[in-house]
Subunit: 343 residues, 2 copies
């Protein structure tokens, strides 16, 4: 009998020996191994960085985008954008659970959302039904495999599945904010009007409490209005996040000093220095943006003699799915905003 | 009178508005402004990633390397490798201190090492005297400028200046280990036989104490011997750091479980997953290698459902220069090793 790996290395075709995420090609044969789950896929939520790249490469032509997505999946056996390296997630219905799968609470017929990246998930697409160019969702017929270490969440019966998909796509962000932000903290959120941004701002307001300060940084007028309408920040600063000195000056004008925690959720390059400059020497910068450059962050802090702690955003943390779905259910304005955009 | 910026943006030529590190060209006119220091440079310590790139691009031809370094400095006004983005540091003698420079303890004639990256330091090279191809040091005649926020350390009179330069180049690493590693911790150091590696291993042994475990991971036989001779680790594992499963299996064979803290100081790509897999879900990975990919780390942890905290190595932390020079002075075997290689 084949020895099965809990990380799914059995399915790696090339290069041999790496984990499925690092592989350029994995085996997407849709026959379930003993420690896997087989899923009938409903919708893919392509990662924002990847979807933007595909949209640009295809000049927003949906037919070309469809071709490009099919080509990636046929070549690699998974929906991992070769340019960005990123994936996304999916919702679907469990078709079969392998006999040695370690989680006993899941069974055929359950509707689930995968919480591991599509960049390592074996996927086969039979047909793309539609691509929603405004919300990164791709509706398909197809199948996927979840490994033994592949985490997932059941879709609550009282919530729209596409709302759940949209929220869980960024579930790590508010859950990490919950771990980082303490009562009385001052917090800057770069990109506060985006999908992750509003969830992070809500959680930061909750954790920082009445003695804390949450400052959103956005780069368009309508985003200022949105955040004010949603009451998700104490102050909103309109600034170009790639201009570190502008962000620094404007945040200090509002807060009087640097902040304790900065959360970066803006999908734009060259925003590392803004985060470093607005944060106290003893503070924390949490980089959630996939556009973050490791080198720019590392050398940037050293370059200005800042002792700030910089953390690489981890999309997974214990309880993140529950926290995020509860957040959406308890924040009617955010729920309405998401329903409007994603369902 | 010109308004001076403490970050040195006055000297940015293009693109306008960015900080000196992000600039492609800065003004290296060697006339000191009120909030700057002018330095007569003795030796550059090129960052390891940058030096390796230059060495490879020039096929180890020292004359070509000289040309390439001069060309970079003439074009950019600073020694920032356009491919790696990184710099290095320098030692020299203070020639002039601007009238508004905020640190009063420095004066003309002091021998100092800069602790900010060459990637943002205005530099002019009059002549390259020699390039030491084995230790990344370049001996020159030339001048450099230190900004108001540019940190530095005085070279102790009782230590060889090139030993000091070599040690301070990686001063952040052992100082961060000192902040991270607690009594009784288990620690993995990926690349433990390198310059940063031996300093980190020494500090980790000291902090973890008799109830802790320090495991070095190296990829060559002679490095195993070196670490055993230096007694810098409890165990040494010979493994390819790019092979996550090999590292995982071998570390677990030694330690019986995942470790509390992993320090990555190996200047090699694709080592993120090894670090993540060998570290406890509740542990910390500290990425000091400039070859780290933000995306691979972020998606990698999520991909295997690990809740590990991943920190971007900050080359600066308070007291790092003192800690590192004390370490070298108190560890005769490390001092002898460094003297042999760098002086």
């Amino acid at each position: 009998m084949e020895k099965l790996c809990r990380f799914g290395t059995n399915r790696v075709i090339e290069p041999k020996g790496v984990l499925p995420q690092a592989a350029t090609k994995i085996d997407n044969t849709m026959i379930v191994k003993d420690n896997e789950i087989l899923i009938d896929v409903i919708t893919l939520n392509i990662d924002s960085a990847s979807f933007t790249q595909i949209k640009q490469a295809c000049n927003k032509d949906v037919n070309k985008m469809e071709e490009m997505i099919l080509d990636i999946v046929n070549t690699r056996g998974k929906m991992q954008n070769p340019v960005t390296g990123s994936g996304g997630m999916l919702i679907g219905v469990v078709k079969e659970v392998g006999s040695a799968y370690p989680v006993s609470t899941v069974q055929a017929g359950d509707k689930i959302a995968t919480l591991v990246s599509l960049s390592l998930t074996p996927l086969k697409i039979d047909k793309i039904h539609s691509i929603n160019i405004t919300n990164d969702q791709v509706h398909i017929s197809g199948q996927a495999i979840l490994f033994e270490t592949g985490i997932f969440a059941k879709v609550p019966e009282d919530m729209d599945e596409h709302l759940v998909l949209a929220a869980l796509d960024v579930a790590g962000a508010p859950a990490q904010v919950d771990k980082l932000v303490k009562e009385g903290d001052s917090v800057v959120i770069i990109g506060a009007a985006g999908k992750s941004g509003v969830l992070c701002a809500y959680q930061a307001m909750k954790n920082a409490g009445p003695n804390g300060t949450v400052i959103g940084v956005v780069n368009e007028e309508w985003q200022v209005q949105l955040l004010q309408d949603l009451r998700l920040c104490h102050s909103v600063v309109l600034a170009d996040a790639t201009n570190a000195l502008e962000v620094y000056d404007k945040v200090l004008a509002v807060n009087g000093e640097q902040v304790d925690v900065t959360i970066n959720v803006v999908n734009v390059q060259n925003t590392e220095m803004s985060c470093i400059l607005v944060t106290k020497d003893t503070g924390i910068v949490y980089f959630f943006s996939m556009a973050t450059s490791f080198t720019k962050a590392a050398l940037g802090a050293e370059g200005v003699g800042s002792d700030v702690t910089m953390i690489i955003g981890n999309g997974y943390t214990k309880g993140h799915a529950e926290l995020t779905l509860n957040l959406v259910n308890n924040a009617p304005k955010i729920k309405a905003l998401f329903e409007q955009k994603y369902t």
